[in-house]
Symmetry: C2
Subunit: 273 residues, 2 copies
């Protein structure tokens, strides 16, 4: 690894990093921005997305050495001083670690489902338009061994900068796909032998009593309106019992409870006394 | 209710609302700021904190009528146009609903514990310094029927504006107290017959196997360092099993899982078919 020093904020080689916040809003033509050490580590470790380049603050370089050495050798590592970095990014980048990733082609939902294990847990997100919630749900999905996350077109982009950050890199670990038509997806899941369960405050089953063997698709909807009636009337529904008068749970919190309930994680090794 | 029209952003009657964001940082001498309809509703409904005044955008007044009519008659309701309101607050207040609450005296932790039911669930927060996390934990505590939240001095203020907002008003519903000394608190909880359980990634019990009858105090620590060794070595510990290689859960997500596991909520009424 030969870090390349950037002295000029307008250097063409770091053009993809210019005005990061503004660009969040207009998209990036097939790229995304990853920030922070944990996120960069996940991006590099999972290898599911290409890395175009890395830009780090000079005083962070030594601490990142173990991660940077594992990057493919063709990935340029740019290094800048505090002032140059802030002028490139357009705001004070206190983490001082950025990377540009390549989106590539996402798999079709049906193809992704075809790659999963016989006992897979899948989260299906409908209308989750808040980046924090999408990031948090991916983090929970990774922690509890979900094999995939499927998002409808109204859910927000998991590769949006803030969703990546909140997920602590889980969006690079848990494969995801976008689907157009919930009814067609439900058919595909049916055909694949998936049990389908929709979380809803008015669900028929208490989630503590829900039993599931084999592959499971867990549907999560928006906090305000919940899942569309077309989904709720087609598949089984489960509720998280709450205090009467305060039956309000953030969708990320609901995902933590439900994904933990159906976690698919490797058995733990025996513990030494 | 006779709304009082404010035309001058420097009107002394709305001095407590001036430069809201700046004042978040320096404190407010016994007051707090509540914002948004759901939060104002919780503040008014629970009655645990006094309300000094309310300031609303003129076009929100009609929609708030049912809430405002339930306020004590001495609470002034100020009304302002968009421009005046934004100039008072110092930024664009798109919700247009603000109230100044009075902190009053918090109970001592031991006194608060003395008021709880024989089967109470209590969350004990140690070092939770992120306002989103504190707000989210209160929201989960309210949803799952916790009787109290106890916070150490390094945890952040539940009456900070953002914590209130994230809690969707749960900080007004679930009584809380601040404690100085974790060892003394553990003694008090012991004496009160509480089972004490600390959440830790290296906990001895899988939380799914933990059984608890009677009152329970559930300790939650920071994400990075976790709970102090002095606590972990004194009380039982429980873990939330996670995927090897991604054993990273946000503390608010962990609180959702643990509080749901031990939820103390009124039995549900039989459901009509």
């Amino acid at each position: 690894m030969n870090p390349i020093r950037i002295e000029d904020p307008q250097d063409e080689r770091v053009a993809a990093y210019v005005d990061i916040r503004e660009r969040d809003l207009v998209g990036r033509q097939g790229r995304f921005v990853a920030e922070g050490k944990v996120v960069l580590e996940a991006l590099a470790a999972t290898g599911r997305f290409g890395i175009e380049s890395v830009l780090v603050l000079e005083n962070r370089l030594a601490g990142l050495q173990p991660i940077l050495e594992r990057l493919p050798p063709h990935v340029p590592v740019y290094v800048a001083g505090r002032d140059v970095l802030d002028r490139i990014a357009g705001f004070h980048m206190h983490r001082g670690i950025l990377a540009i990733g390549k989106r590539g082609e996402l798999p079709a939902a049906a193809d992704l489902l075809g790659t999963l294990s016989a006992n897979a847990l899948v989260a299906v997100l409908v209308g989750i338009s808040n980046h924090d919630n999408v990031g948090s749900i991916f983090r929970n999905a990774a922690a509890f061994g979900a094999g995939a996350v499927l998002l409808d077109r109204t859910s927000c982009d998991p590769l949006y900068r803030k969703a990546i950050r909140v997920s602590v890199g889980a969006v690079f670990k848990v494969p995801f796909a976008i689907f157009d038509d919930a009814a067609a997806l439900a058919d595909t899941l049916d055909a694949g032998g998936f049990t389908q369960l929709a979380l809803s405050p008015r669900g028929e089953l208490d989630i503590r009593d829900a039993v599931c063997e084999g592959p499971l698709a867990l549907y999560l909807g928006t906090e305000g309106e919940g899942l569309p009636e077309a989904i709720l009337s087609r598949i089984r529904t489960a509720r998280i019992a709450m205090e009467p008068g305060f039956d309000s749970l953030n969708v990320a919190a609901a995902s933590a409870i439900a994904l933990h309930r159906f976690a698919r994680i490797a058995p733990e090794k025996p513990r030494l006394p």
